[in-house]
């Protein structure tokens, strides 16, 4: 009996709490029936060898317990491909953001004190810990989705597939997920720069105390920051949606057109609005370039350059919008986003 109790304890340790007592009671009852049936001396207690052989036949406790529990996945087969996709993107974005930090440290070591190597080591350490954090967060989110999504819903999503989708996607043009991931990365970098490091966009020069930066964007630019941030956040959301969905459809196209319209409006406002670049005369002097232009003249030149850039950007956005309208509404094809498989 001692062996049987130990066996049951061991099985119980691998069972989930629900029904544990009941399952153990049933296993015990079965074991006793089997032993009794095989006992060559009915009426007497079974010998240890018999008990051992019955337990051996019944199987390893972990295996027995496992047969009572349904297969549970941390992330099931239905969500796994999407999980891998998102994980890849998140890790690329994290690595890229860290690389940006690294580049900024190399370019502008003034902010990190004297020991550049130490700062670099810190960034590399930060890279690994943030990669692990990213991995952990994505995995946890997906595990949560796996647990909370009802099985019926998962099956329903699969059943919604229709062979007509294939025809609609025929003649498809492929966009690589990696391209969207890169776009998301740079958009995020832009948002971070815009909101937290606006003063770092400027002229860098060396003084006795180290590198100093003089911002070139003036207060006129600040009014555009919330709008630019909004347009870029919307663009990230759209890209994530596209990765999730896998192709352009009317909804995505309309969203893209609205985002483009917003971006065009901002660019136009910058183009026709007051000048946003001012170079500080003292910084310009420190740079000591061998050209006979004053800071004011250089500022004007840069503003004209920016206006040209804005004009080109507006032109590019209009071309992109027309192309997108043509692809979705006229040609009617869904542009498929290719999921790369290694």
């Amino acid at each position: 009996m001692k062996l049987i109790n130990l066996y049951l304890d061991e099985v119980g340790r691998h069972l989930i709490a629900k029904n544990r007592e009941d399952i153990l009671k049933e296993i015990q009852s079965t074991l006793m029936d089997t032993i009794e049936d095989r006992n060559p001396h009915p009426g007497q207690g079974p010998d240890e060898e018999l008990v051992k052989s019955v337990l051996q036949e019944f199987g390893a406790p972990r295996k027995v317990a496992h047969q009572y529990t349904e297969h549970s996945y941390l992330i099931g087969p239905r969500f796994f491909p999407l999980y891998l996709q998102i994980l890849k993107i998140v890790l690329i974005v994290i690595a890229a953001l860290n690389m940006l930090g690294l580049i900024m440290t190399i370019i502008n070591p003034s902010g990190v004190g004297n020991n550049l190597l130490e700062a670099l080591a810190q960034i590399m350490g930060g890279l690994f810990s943030s990669l692990f954090t990213g991995f952990g967060v994505v995995t946890l989110v997906f595990a949560g989705i796996e647990r909370t999504t009802p099985e019926a819903w998962k099956v329903k999503v699969e059943q919604q597939w229709n062979p007509d989708d294939l025809l609609a996607q025929e003649d498809r043009k492929t966009i690589k997920v990696i391209e969207l991931a890169v776009e998301i990365t740079f958009t995020m970098i832009f948002i971070v720069l815009l909101n937290f490091f606006l003063d770092r966009i400027g002229i860098y020069y060396l003084t006795e105390t180290g590198w100093v930066s003089a911002p070139i964007l003036n207060d006129n630019f600040l009014r555009y920051v919330p709008w630019l941030t909004a347009a870029n956040v919307l663009s990230i959301i759209l890209n994530l949606f596209l990765i999730r969905q896998g192709y352009w459809d009317k909804r995505a196209t309309i969203a893209k057109l609205l985002i483009n319209a917003l971006t065009i409006a901002i660019n136009l406002a910058i183009l026709i609005g007051p000048e946003v670049i001012t170079i500080s005369p003292s910084a310009w002097q420190k740079l000591n370039f061998d050209i006979g232009a004053t800071a004011q003249e250089v500022s004007r030149g840069m503003n004209i350059g920016l206006d040209v850039l804005m004009g080109l950007s507006i032109f590019g956005l209009i071309v992109e919008s027309i192309k997108r309208i043509y692809e979705t509404f006229i040609k009617g094809s869904h542009t498929r986003i290719e999921i790369e498989s290694e």
Binding site: E26, M32, D37, F58, Q67
Partner: protein, 113 residues
């Protein structure tokens, strides 16, 4: 000539797979009258339908969860035993399954022979 063993091994695998498909039918067929786990296993064994204990007991629980079986605990010979029997829903399902099995069996027979 192919060695004998791989053929046997592969056949064994496929036969096991085949049996897995009909275990439910076999188990339900024996539960018109109530039986406890061990007696059910013996009963199936006697009719050449050997089912591993590790498969049978979890299966009985699953069938009960699906309302095909009913069960209750009873104390006999100073030992509690769980008795399983077909529910009325299970009876109807078994009846349908038996018809399906008959059709399937004939179809496969015709395909094979």
């Amino acid at each position: 000539m192919m060695p004998d063993d791989p053929i046997k091994a592969q056949t064994q695998n496929l036969v096991q797979e085949l049996r897995r498909g009909v275990i439910v039918l076999a188990v339900l067929s024996q539960l018109h009258e109530e039986q406890y786990g061990y007696s059910l296993m013996k009963c199936l064994e006697e009719q050449h339908m050997q089912i591993d204990q590790g498969t049978l007991y979890p299966l009985l629980r699953r069938l009960e969860e699906q309302s095909l079986l009913e069960s209750d605990w009873r104390v006999e010979e100073s030992r509690p035993r769980r008795y399983y029997r077909l529910s009325s829903f299970g009876e109807k399902v078994l009846e349908e399954m038996a018809k399906e099995w008959s059709i399937l069996k004939n179809t496969v027979d015709e395909l094979l022979f």
